[in-house]
Symmetry: C2
Subunit: 354 residues, 2 copies
DNA sequence: GGAAACTACGTTAGCGCTAACGTAAAGCCC
DNA sequence: GGGCTTTACGTTAGCGCTAACGTAGTTTCC
């Protein structure tokens, strides 16, 4: 009584034979005409289109997917959508995927590997044409399953030489190393890092590793870290930074932040303690987010062409779906964008080599 | 040559008869067992589950959707995902929808009614179990099509007494009226509004209408407006506000902003001109976004329980899918949250009645 | 103790569509 | 002008699954 049966909708929909009957041809001709497959005269094709329109015929993709063995769905998995980074990559992929006739199913796993694995299992019920995942760190089963079923797979946002299938992204460790080296050149010596808790975001962790490498290679001390929970970038950045800078004796001279939002909130935290960047402390963001366009002091950050990354990823993935073999992966190069929250190279009279 | 044929994947997948054969039962028994439909003994059900697991059987949802006449897909359409407002509503809906066995297809139309209509036509190819749209302003065809096909439809984010099917949201005009009235009580007399260009966001436009009504009812002058294009809230808010406040002779004493992001950027713009809130000017946001948690001066804003709204919407929609009739719509009430960018009621010695 | 009701299955007939394989008619070639 | 190819269709046989309808065997009931 409490659980009612799913109601089948009443009004029966028009199917391909209705169009065929009206056009006085076989259903196969209608199928060919509407799909743009050759083997139909132009006159008939036009006529069939008109009749289909008149009858408001809607092809049934479920039936189509069934005979095609695979559907035209593409499963996409992001950690979260509360982050313009992923929204932008999605935005970069979508036009390409849609104009190729694919429909996207987007899910988020909130940085939880188990949920990602779960999703991989479930999305396969739809026999998707391909799958897109964020990053390259997954439960080992994910790789096994996708390889066994030969599902074209794109790992986006991070580059590796050993992807499941193909990947398009940056090397996050190198990105960390790069920005850290530039900061070292600018004379910063006491680094700190503010980010999420361990295991939350592998990419962020790798950037930290890169920062550590750079400072250690320069013979400088370790990187203090503040890790925060939750999902609110601003709050996390605020609290984490506050913790790091509040003790004067251990205060860092440069704070690397998980993102520009972290960095902005970190700046707010510093200001609440009477510290300002870049005079008292340097602050570095990541990802060049839009808030940076309106700040009186722009945050020094690392820019990645995320939309373009999505577009390239989508293009390569479609190539793979169409049977193109070989290495379709692409590596992007991040760029440091100087703002006013750190010293800048032009501020230096001469270059210092660490 | 340039267009290659979609390759069918080689490794044939296990289907229901493979499981049936292995379990020595008919496929119907397997189907029933795995779907949790009654008519199978507990012993057999357990055995079938084990065998299905062992064989790594994955039901084919395309086949299932074909026989069920409708799929377990739910199409969701948002204006954009570059806005936590929509990400949050989605986040509120998803757990409910997924635990009920539905998969979501999310699309964005970038505030373009034609794209929304296009999407409605296309998503129906999948015979979705339901459709979710943002707001109540659509191409008239949308309503006709959805009603004709009797597709359960949720209009989210905005409430009306005449929804396509069911709606869950707030009354945006009333929300505008409400906040404006509170500001009038606080003594503000020269209002302005910063938002997107006309036709971009109907909801925002309605809030402006509400603000106008309130000021006009109080016998006060009109509302000056600055409308900006683009997709970047911060940049739009910055430029729009700057335009409004830069001429001292026409400077408003209160600026109502499309969102908290607009408001934050507007504050930046004011500060760049040497104006601060609330001393020189009042600034009001909308939607209580997370940036507000870390600002030294929180923005006075209007809070809406968006996640809860999504959850309620999803619940009601599932009820409809399951055949529950009647009025399943719900109206939410927004709340004014005072920050430090306007005068506040406690600042007033006595209440002023306009 | 015999009919009725229930339980636990199996059988049948598609859901709407397309790949693969016909086939008739027209065009082409020397 | 006979065999070849090409064009423009039609026919056949499923894709994997489930609703609906059997049907044995068992239980219940008076």
């Amino acid at each position: 009584m409490s659980v009612e049966k799913k109601k089948q909708r009443s009004g029966k929909s028009i199917k391909i034979d209705d169009v065929a009957r009206e056009a006085n041809v076989s259903i196969m001709t209608v199928s060919r005409a509407l799909r743009g497959v050759e083997g139909v005269s132009e006159a008939k094709r036009t006529e069939i289109f008109e009749i289909a329109e008149k009858l408001r015929y809607q092809p049934n993709f479920n039936a189509r997917s069934l005979v095609n063995v695979q559907s035209s769905l593409i499963g996409i998995s992001f950690p979260t959508l509360f982050n313009d980074v992923f929204a932008e990559m999605l935005d970069g992929m979508r036009p390409t995927l849609e104009s190729a006739g694919f429909t996207t199913i987007v899910t988020t796993h909130e940085y939880d590997g188990a949920r990602e694995l779960d999703w991989i299992e479930t999305v396969r019920y739809w026999r998707p044409a391909a799958v897109v995942m964020t990053g390259i760190d997954h439960d080992p089963k994910v790789r096994r399953v996708l390889r066994r079923d030969q599902i074209p797979t794109l790992e986006l946002w991070e580059h590796t030489d050993d992807p499941i299938d193909l990947c398009v992204g940056i090397d996050h460790e190198k990105a960390g190393e790069q920005i850290a080296n530039e900061m070292i050149e600018l004379g910063y010596r006491r680094p700190a890092y503010v980010g999420w808790g361990r295991g939350h975001d592998y990419r962020s962790e790798k950037r930290l590793t890169g920062i550590r490498k750079a400072f250690s290679a320069a013979g400088l001390g370790g990187v203090r870290t503040a890790r925060t929970g939750g999902t609110d970038h601003y709050r996390a950045g605020f609290n984490g930074t506050k913790r790091l800078v509040s003790d004067q004796s251990t205060r860092p001279d440069i704070v690397f932040c998980h993102s520009d939002h972290f960095a902005f909130a970190g700046m707010m935290a510093c200001e609440s303690l009477g510290l300002s960047a870049p005079e008292d402390i340097g602050i570095v963001g990541f990802n060049s987010l839009s808030i940076n366009n309106v700040l009186p002091r722009r945050i020094t950050t690392v820019e990645v062409e995320r939309r373009e990354m999505g577009a390239v990823g989508a293009r390569q993935l479609i190539a793979r779906i169409n049977g193109i073999g070989g290495n379709l992966s692409k590596r992007f190069e991040p760029k440091v964008r100087y703002g006013a929250t750190t010293r800048t190279p032009t501020m230096m009279t001469g270059k210092t080599t660490a």
